[in-house]
Amino acid sequence: MLKQIGRSSTWGWIAGLLALAGFMGAPPAGAAQELRIGFVAPTTGAFSQIGRDMVNGFQMYLDEVGGNFAGAKVTFIVEDEEAKPPVAVRKVEKLIRQDKVHMFIGGLLASTGYAIAPVSTRLKTVYVASIPAADDLTQRDAGKYPLMVRTGWTSSQPNHPFGEWACQQGYKRIVAIGADYAFGHEVVGGFQKAFEDCGGRIIQKIWPPLGTIDFGPYIPTIKKNADAIFTLMVGPMSLQFPKQLASAGIRLPVLGGGTSYDEFVLPAMGDEVIGHVSALQYSAALDNPKNVAFVKKYREKYGKVPSYYSESNYSTAQMIHEVMKKTKGKWPGAAQFVKLLSTIQLDTPRGPVRLDEMRNPVHNIYIRMVRKKKEHGYDKDELWNTVIKTYPNVGQFYKYKKEEFLKQPVYSRDYPPCKYCE
């Protein structure tokens, strides 16, 4: 008796396994006139607030148009990539294979961009890089990723004019300290090239690992005889560095890459950052009607000032909408969509945006100084990235000739070489 039960349960197990396998195979159905958009952003972990800013920006635009892009119902699927490149790769695979998305958007870190762009090529799906700023995606490797369009920026893009600006302010010797990964290398590299081409000298480069929160080991190594410090911080680093720099008694002027003072962290910062200058294609303090309306609405809805992470994804949604208007809500196919998206010209909260032939935006770069003031009619003194100079319509190669620029290697830890390092 017992034996028989045993045998029948063996067959039961086998049948169950087969049934499970059959169940796994059920494919999802896709409706006509539907636009399926996958979105990867970190919604847990150290970068979760940035991830939420990204999602909120896109979601806000979707809500404004009632989830409808020119007749196509938008299915918006958000996946948590935890700010880890391998997780992002797995989530993108899921979005494409399981959810059959028409395109995927986002990713946070530049290293994530480098990791998921090849997936777009491998699985023949459009990738809209709204945040990852990895230079080579739209430079030396652009040919490898024919289905990728960037609506955000390249890491070095704002820092070419910024380097020149710093030089024009009379700074001669600058110490650079930046997060040790692709994005940090490229931001510092762009700044260094333009700064040194204009006659300045980077006299030291310091690379704390991404995620450093105790700068104790690094700050004392900063050379005291510099004219200024150039910093590139991301996520939790942004908050701790200026504080620890100030309490170490270093009073040098501080310049920074855009993410060092982005609005995602600015409200939590102390007064020690007042006077720090950074460069980016966006500031919440921008005084154009589109942005004022965007900031007010966003703040009302989500209780905080939008960061560039919000703006970039809001604008991305707007650009995709524009494309869908041209196709009357019909999905034009991946290659055609990329073609259409790269010819878009649009007024966004960050200003006018168009894309260059390598599918990277050309937009204004703003030099911004942190000031404590009232902005946009809010009645409290707050920290804002006040724009002090605008470089209009800056492309990823700035003043450099594209062909010559592309001949040099991508900015890295060792390029440009630190020839003035002491």
Binding site: L17, P86, K91
Partner: protein, 330 residues
């Protein structure tokens, strides 16, 4: 169930996976492939944990060594992208085993909770190198691999690659099965049960444990080679403590000392980590809950369930419970 029926069931389950997966939608196939790679890692850990009684908290280190070796050879030397893939497989096993041979010198003489701590420390060393040794590992950026090898057979094709990983999984399972049934495997179990007695009987228990540690490292290295190609990206995230802890959970969840238990556990944990988070934003509650509930209510893992249910049916509930608990505690 007797041994033969168990074997039959395992073969049937394997056949089901083999036959059903290629028709199950391309994402499920990726998940199954990932699960099979981790199943190899979990089984390698089961040799230590389940059969020898050594709970290693650093198994991700060997996966990392194999994966980084594969990635570095492929990107720096374009080596391993044609038939030389098989050379890389051998090298991956060797580097895993060599790392374990080195680490084992530090770890194997320690027992119980000290073994946990030392393997944790050793795992952290490998992570530290992967994370900071920029010029070799690319640091936080990781290494993106070129398309998968082709040697007449195109591994870039996901179905083909699934078959390959499946073959490696079956081969590993068979090899480890033979190993644990060999006299060597029996003496490992003897060490687990009572090391002192084995020593008195004249066994060199240190050497036995050391060899088991190296074998586990070798299979870990193999899993690493497959992982690098399955994923197309090798990153320090693959080597973090959480990966080692997950591997432990896989074994404990499935059932330590059963080999296939680790494979089942791998399937569940991979599913939880990669698929659940796409369903609910609060996936960490579920993952944490699985850890807590497994520990509290499934001391022998899922594979002990049929046994527990049967003995509960056969005898009054209380005593059956006590008996199972007794047989679990060692």
């Amino acid at each position: 169930m007797d041994g033969r029926r168990k074997l039959l069931l395992v073969i049937a389950a394997l056949l089901a996976v083999l036959l059903a997966t290629p028709h199950s939608g391309s994402y499920i196939m990726v998940l199954v492939t990932h699960a099979l790679v981790f199943a190899i890692l979990a089984m390698s850990l089961d040799i230590l944990l389940g059969f020898t009684g050594l709970p290693s908290l650093g198994q991700a280190a060997y996966l990392g060594m194999g994966a980084y070796l594969t990635a570095i050879l492929a990107t720096r030397l374009q080596f391993g992208l044609d038939w030389t893939f098989w050379v890389v497989v051998v090298l991956g096993i060797l580097i895993g085993a060599a790392t374990a041979a080195f680490f084992g010198l530090f770890a194997v003489h320690a027992g119980g909770v000290y073994f946990l701590m030392i393997t944790l420390a050793l795992g952290m060393c490998v992570w530290g190198l992967a994370y900071r040794w920029n010029s070799l590992t690319g640091g936080d950026n990781g290494i993106v691999l070129p398309p998968r090898p082709s040697f007449g057979i195109q591994l870039a094709d996901d179905v083909t690659f699934f078959y390959l990983v499946f073959a490696f999984f079956v081969a590993s399972l068979a090899a480890l099965y033979v190993l644990v049934r060999s006299p060597f495997g029996r003496s490992l179990v003897g060490i687990r049960e009572n090391e002192l007695r084995m020593r008195i009987l004249g066994y060199n228990t240190w050497l036995h444990k050391y060899v088991a540690f190296i074998i586990a490292g070798g299979f870990g290295g193999l899993a690493g080679v497959l992982w690098a190609h399955a994923h197309g990206l090798v990153s320090p995230e693959d080597v973090v403590l959480a990966t080692s802890v997950d591997a432990l959970l896989m074994v404990v969840l499935g059932g330590p000392g059963t080999l296939v238990g680790g494979a089942i556990g791998a399937a569940i944990v991979v599913f939880l980590r990669e698929y659940l988070s796409t369903l609910v934003p609060w996936w960490q509650y579920v993952l944490g809950g699985v850890y807590v509930l497994t520990i509290l209510y499934l001391p022998g893992g899922l594979l002990s369930l049929p046994e527990r249910i049967r003995s509960r049916r056969a005898k009054p509930a209380g005593t059956a419970e006590a008996k199972v608990l007794q047989s679990e505690s060692r």
